[in-house]
Symmetry: C2
Subunit: 504 residues, 2 copies
């Protein structure tokens, strides 16, 4: 009997099918009481494919019936091994793999990498393999904007005689390239955060009708859902896709919710305001440089927050593409220590116009290795962390001082009467960037550079403190045996974090 | 006949006056059709003083009548000379001296400097004399908070038998010290931005009754208004003075408007939101690190905007006192290139607790000399500048591209529907930090570090471009003869500005 590892792809091909639909919900996979209905998709004329990702070990049976053709069979799903942990799922304000293994997102961005030459694509994959990144933001459609003036070698659809796109005629060359791209990422353990629509277009993809968009989307679902490393990103900068309304986006979200049998992660990336809260959103995919707002978005959406765009390390004359490497690294630390996660991108001007952020290729910057350093630290900690609750209190308040407590109450009264914006800004201003988990706290000072910090530790425990330099990538013991109220000396420079862990 | 230079102080003393009021509106100064009514103030028992600052050259007559005592006389007011240019007044979104001479505010902060030892006060004055600063934020009342635990040698008032303050019994020792402090600043050409109330108090000054507060205020007006370098700052962090309501503050503002014969500048400094717009406010004295909001506050208040507190250069474990020197300098440039002005402060931890921001003394940081560099550049430019109008347009928009123009219109529609916060953030994000004046533009790139900039200059003029490094304090020619659409190469580092000037 055929064997498939859990979370891998079983692919079944139907040839000489007398049918022309793009997709057809014609396959059933069963194991004990569990039944999964899956769509076939047309790969080329008369050739249909069914893909399935089993999520339970044991014997599965399947039955496919399409245009008079019937296929039945069974296969054995074996336990997952090695780095295969299944889909990424939401876990509180964090993420995990389906099998419980930890997943901390460290994203990067190469919007149009699949639309470049084979040589460049190979280079991108090599670079990713050596990088810390475990998620990549990438578009199905090609990209048109400065530094993106080349045309791709193939497009998702054939054209009609009138020159417009015929979404019912997918070009197999394109889709096989996309399949392979996602598969290569899967082998590297990288999540493909696949952007389904975006505004930077000169070919007409941003202006497909709603009917065509839904057909294309259904095709994506039928073809790509079985890849465990797939995330659905409905849009890059959804507001800028002027041909689409909120209702259009809602229809996409609902369709994916209904038709993707596996429940891959679903988000919408914004340019101005976050996409409104909807039942099918699994996390916030945020464009913003206001990273301090993460805890407020968490509260508002009750979802994990990924800062998927906060500027790119680079030197372009655009505010979005001109961050110093230090600032890129800082924003990762800031995101994490505000309870969220961050995504990288790189835009160094090059005469050949091969900028990582869009075309992939090589990384030329200085942030990636430092993001790797952060990744190692976070994975070395024992599990997920929380933010200390945002209370807007003065963290330096001495609770034994009655007058100070009364004044603090007065201040809270005033704060409660101001606008949300003011409250958020102020709370972020006075609340340390700090996370705490089982037996540890990690506080990051960002651009501030205190020469000391007063800690309030339990008197009946012992702690050790370690000074982390995010740029030098160094870790250095600050104190070995700390207890109660105590002062730790700090180096007084930017980019310092303090990791305090309980001694066993 | 006695001679007094215009904008200097004429002081007249009345002794053995059989009166006990704190102040009395009992003096009239006349020149031609102009008549100025001035109050006498009690300096010590039975001794009253009248101070007057003439603002017109020529012969002035005066008449004082108090408790049966009459004084009459005249003096000649001569033209102002040297660095004496009179009061600072509002001039659009800028400031000027009363006589038309330019004044660009470069403030610093030493809240409690007058409450320190004479030796320390002398040191503060020496430091100021060597500094670029032409305005200082300082409190009448002493200050209580970390690093401010010492008591002053004298207080503004005597105490009542019950231990509370008797505002009707001013302590001459204190007020003469304050007079001298303001006079020493005047000699250095430094504006005394005098903070009348503040919350950081352990002596009871923040909890004076409204009646006592008004008496104290009237005394300040009578005693101090004749100093040309005086600015009225009603409060530091007005919301935190819990004993006072908005109506209380309004009463102070109205009283100063009515009783200060010269119309010195009036502001209120906030902690959360700017004090609401009132007819007696002459400018916005802002606490905020959101410097990008300057143009929006200008629009809202139709007043000049001073970022009087945006954090201090230092290394304390408080977010307000831990800025890197570069960031302090950056915020000055950012403020100016967003159409406003900025104020400095310094909080380096010292075991002796003499931190410039409160006690004065010496400057230990690296920002002051760089603020001086900015000051030289701005004074070398021919007069006031404007911000290019905030339109929220993509500045890279090619107006000959019809599709791009249509999409920009679409985007404006979307932007107009978002919240004020979103609009402001987005406009600030895409609008360059840039000012333009007669024959020049100055663009500052802040933390961004473009390697080139495309300029759209007039084709019928010639321009030269200079690269300014705000940290290295260097100015370097980038190009000598520029015209039309042209590209300028930039160094690709943080803290760079480009000054483009029209060739004669």
């Amino acid at each position: 009997m055929k064997q498939i590892e859990k979370y891998n792809v079983l692919e079944l091909k139907l040839e000489d099918v007398d049918e022309t639909v793009l997709t057809a919900e014609c396959a059933v996979f069963e194991q004990k009481e569990k039944q999964v209905r899956v769509s076939a998709f047309r790969n080329r004329n008369k050739e249909y494919i069914v893909r399935f990702m089993p999520d339970r070990a044991g014997i599965w049976k399947y039955h496919i019936s399409l245009a008079g053709k019937e296929i039945q069979g069974e296969f054995e799903c074996t336990e997952n091994t090695g780095d295969n942990h299944g889909r990424v799922v939401v876990h509180g304000y964090h993420f995990r793999y389906e099998d419980g293994e930890r997943f901390i997102p460290f994203g990067t961005t190469a919007y149009a990498w699949i639309h470049q030459t084979e040589e460049l694509r190979r280079q991108t994959i090599e670079t990713l393999g050596r990088s810390p990144f475990n998620k990549i933001r990438m578009c199905v459609f090609p990209k048109s904007m400065p530094y993106n003036t080349n045309d791709p070698d193939c497009y998702p659809f054939e054209k009609k005689p009138d020159g417009t796109w015929d979404v019912f005629q997918p070009d197999p060359q394109f889709w096989e390239k996309l399949d392979q791209s996602i598969e290569m990422l899967m082998e590297l353990g990288i999540e493909a955060d696949l952007i389904l629509f975006h505004p930077y277009d000169r070919w007409g993809f941003a202006e497909l009708s709603q009917e065509d968009s839904l057909a294309y989307l259904e095709y994506c679902i039928a073809r790509l859902s079985a890849y465990r490393n797939l995330w659905w990103s409905l849009a890059n900068e959804y507001e800028m896709v002027y041909a689409k309304s909120i209702e259009n986006w809602e229809e996409y979200g609902e369709m994916i919710l209904r038709k993707d049998p596996y429940g891959h992660l679903r988000s919408v990336h914004n340019i101005l305001d976050l996409f409104p809260k909807r039942r099918w959103l699994t996390h916030c995919s945020v464009q913003s440089s206001e990273i301090d707002r993460i805890p407020f978005w968490q509260q508002e959406f009750c979802l994990p927050v990924l800062i998927d765009e906060c500027g790119y390390e680079g030197d372009l004359p655009y505010s979005w593409g001109s961050l110093p490497a230090f600032e890129m690294v800082h924003r990762f630390w800031q995101s994490v220590c505000r309870g969220g996660f961050c995504t990288h991108g790189e835009t160094y001007h090059r005469e050949d116009e091969v900028l990582w952020w869009s075309k992939g290729g090589k990384l030329h910057g200085q942030s990636a290795q430092r993001i790797s350093f952060l990744k190692e630290i976070l994975y070395s900690l024992p599990g997920e962390w929380q933010m200390p609750r945002y209370h807007g209190n003065n963290p330096n308040l001495d609770e034994e001082d009655e007058k100070a407590v009364r004044e603090e109450q007065n201040f809270q009264k005033i704060l409660s009467k101001t606008s949300r914006r003011t409250r958020e800004n102020f709370c972020a201003y006075i609340t340390p960037m700090k996370i705490e988990g089982e037996g540890y706290t990690l506080e990051y000072f960002g651009h501030f550079r205190p020469v000391y910090l007063d800690l309030k530790l339990r008197k009946d425990r012992e702690y050790q403190a370690e000074i982390i330099d995010i740029w030098e990538m160094s870790r250095q013991s600050a104190a070995d045996r700390l207890s109660g109220n105590t002062r730790v000396q700090l180096p007084g420079k930017e980019g310092i974090a303090l990791l305090v862990t309980e001694r066993p």
